[in-house]
């Protein structure tokens, strides 16, 4: 114990000296602050980008907060942030509000987000239409034989209702994008609190169907190819199919700035589209663009 202290103490001294040195150097350089706020879906990605960017550019300080897409856009309209994150496109109403205050929101697509539908590897079903998936989750189909599989009961798995993925899946798949629709998940849909819960249940249960962000789905599960309508081509989720818009359960993620970005903000947004930043996109389970 004493020995470790003897070794650790000088180390501490060294570390504190070096950190003192850098902070002194920092304070001499002018700091640029970038305020970044919005979507909770994007917040981890935006944080990862900000951390990496600040390491390479110590004179720039980026603050990232969540709160939701609407919150971020409202903050941009009020002029309190430099960049607003949004997992949906800006609404016309919000653009009008912004224009009244002399703010011109400009859209930048920064990454893609796709949801993969998965079943157990022993399940012979490989292809489904959006309508079929919707009917499975709303409880119309209860047996795999109704969609061309074995005679087995269907066990539906979903994320908890507080997950953004749950809401997106409800709107885009279960309700097929119809805003008037009141279709709900079947009551016996299992709501699992984590991605890991869904993956492990699908892995061991041949009756199960689940969904999750493309980046979270391991390769040993059977990923379903999806057709938007009966008769369309069945498409597997991939970077290409998400980017060319053929995969149905995918969306773009956006950042909004006030007008054409300038100075450090323009350089930051340019870096976000670079290969280095888009690598982080892939690591976090989103779909890189380009």
């Amino acid at each position: 114990m004493k020995k470790t202290l003897v070794i650790l103490l000088p180390l501490f001294f060294l570390v504190s000296c070096s950190s003192l040195g850098t902070s002194a150097a920092d304070s001499q350089e002018p700091q640029t602050y970038i305020e970044n706020k919005g979507s909770d879906t994007i917040v981890n990605l935006a944080l990862a980008w900000a951390e990496k960017y600040q390491i390479d550019n110590p004179d720039i300080s980026i603050s990232v907060t969540g709160g939701g897409s609407g919150t971020g856009i409202a903050a941009l309209v009020n002029g309190t942030v430099d960049i607003a994150n949004a997992s949906r496109q800006i609404k016309q109403k919000e653009i009008d509000l912004a224009n009244e205050d002399g703010i011109e929101p400009m859209e930048h697509i920064i990454a893609g987000d796709a949801i993969a539908v998965v079943v157990n590897p022993s399940n012979p079903v490989n292809e489904l239409t959006l309508q079929q998936i919707s009917d499975i989750y709303s409880g119309v189909y209860t047996n795999w034989s109704e969609v061309g599989g074995d005679d087995r009961p269907i066990v539906r798995l979903s994320r908890e209702t507080n997950s953004g993925t749950h809401v997106y899946f409800l709107e885009t798949v279960v309700r097929l994008g119809d805003e008037e629709s009141e279709t709900l998940f079947s009551t016996n849909t299992l709501l699992l609190p984590s991605s890991e819960g869904i993956i492990s249940e699908v892995r061991q249960n041949p009756n199960a169907i689940g969904y999750d962000g493309l980046g979270y789905v391991p390769e040993d599960l059977n990923i379903i190819a999806i057709a938007p309508e009966e008769g369309d081509v069945y498409v597997l989720p991939s970077v290409e199919s998400v980017n060319n818009g053929t995969y149905a359960i995918a969306r773009d993620l956006y950042m909004y700035t006030n007008g054409e970005p300038t100075g450090e903000i323009a350089i930051y947004l340019e870096w976000i589209l670079s290969a280095e930043a888009q690598e982080i996109v892939q690591e976090l389970g989103f779909v890189p663009i380009n």
């Binding site: 066990v155 908890e160 209702t161 009551t187 299992l190 492990s200 249960n205 199960a208």
Partner: protein
Amino acid sequence: MQKDLNWQEYVITRLIKFSGYSAVIFVVMIFFFLLKEGLPTLSEVPLGDLFATRWYPIESYYGILPLISGSILVTIGAAIIAVPFGVGVAIYLSEIAPRWVRDMLKPLVELLGGLPSVVLGFLGMLILSPALRVILNLPTGLTALTGALLLGGIAIPTIVSISEDALDAVPKSYRDAALALGATRWQTIWKVTLPAARSGVLTAVMLGVGRSIGETMTVMMVTGNAPILANSLTDLLSPVRTMTATIAAEMGEVANGSTHYHVLFFIGLVLFLISLIVNVTASAVVFRQRKKAERVLS
């Protein structure tokens, strides 16, 4: 010196008195907090909707019946497993096992009680639930039964430890008297020792059941959390959603002061009332039986 002692005594008496009262004060304060946050539900959600069978809060379906039935089902299942098993183990440890077996087994059982529930939930998710699915040929292994089995495992150490203490506290003269009257060992245990330790054993059962109804992490991981209304014990084989798991899963994201927030506190209130009723009933039963016993003796 004398004065000094009086002063010390005064402080110590007050401190002990305060500790005694504080338990009551805290419970009352928690109860009022729950009332304050939970009661607005009654004005925001019509009673008919509240006691309906559909729970889907993001679309304003606030029917809490499936959650109540889920909690009760899992707890009854756990009690059916844990009470006979736990009391059995306690009887074995206290009455039958040789001293060295008892000295070895009791700490081990208590160690089981210290197992974090999230670890148990993980084992349940990865080992118990796939096994149950295959053995019972179920659509999925994430069922009320899986939760009941694990909760039974959580309740057993509490039940064993406390009822063993209660059985141990029965005076040796009771057993000697029974054996001297010609009772067999089993008759002594069943007719004399166990009834004499009744109130302690019942406390053990109450604490064990209390632990299972309040347990959250394990049930959230293994019961599937599907809000299906459970009608009978056969629903043990289908997934359920418990009140505790609902609060844990949804409280983190809910907007402060919204209807959903109030309903979650209302569920907490229901949970509180259920455990209150269980405890009051249990102590009433013990009290009545004790009175009856006293009447017979006098």
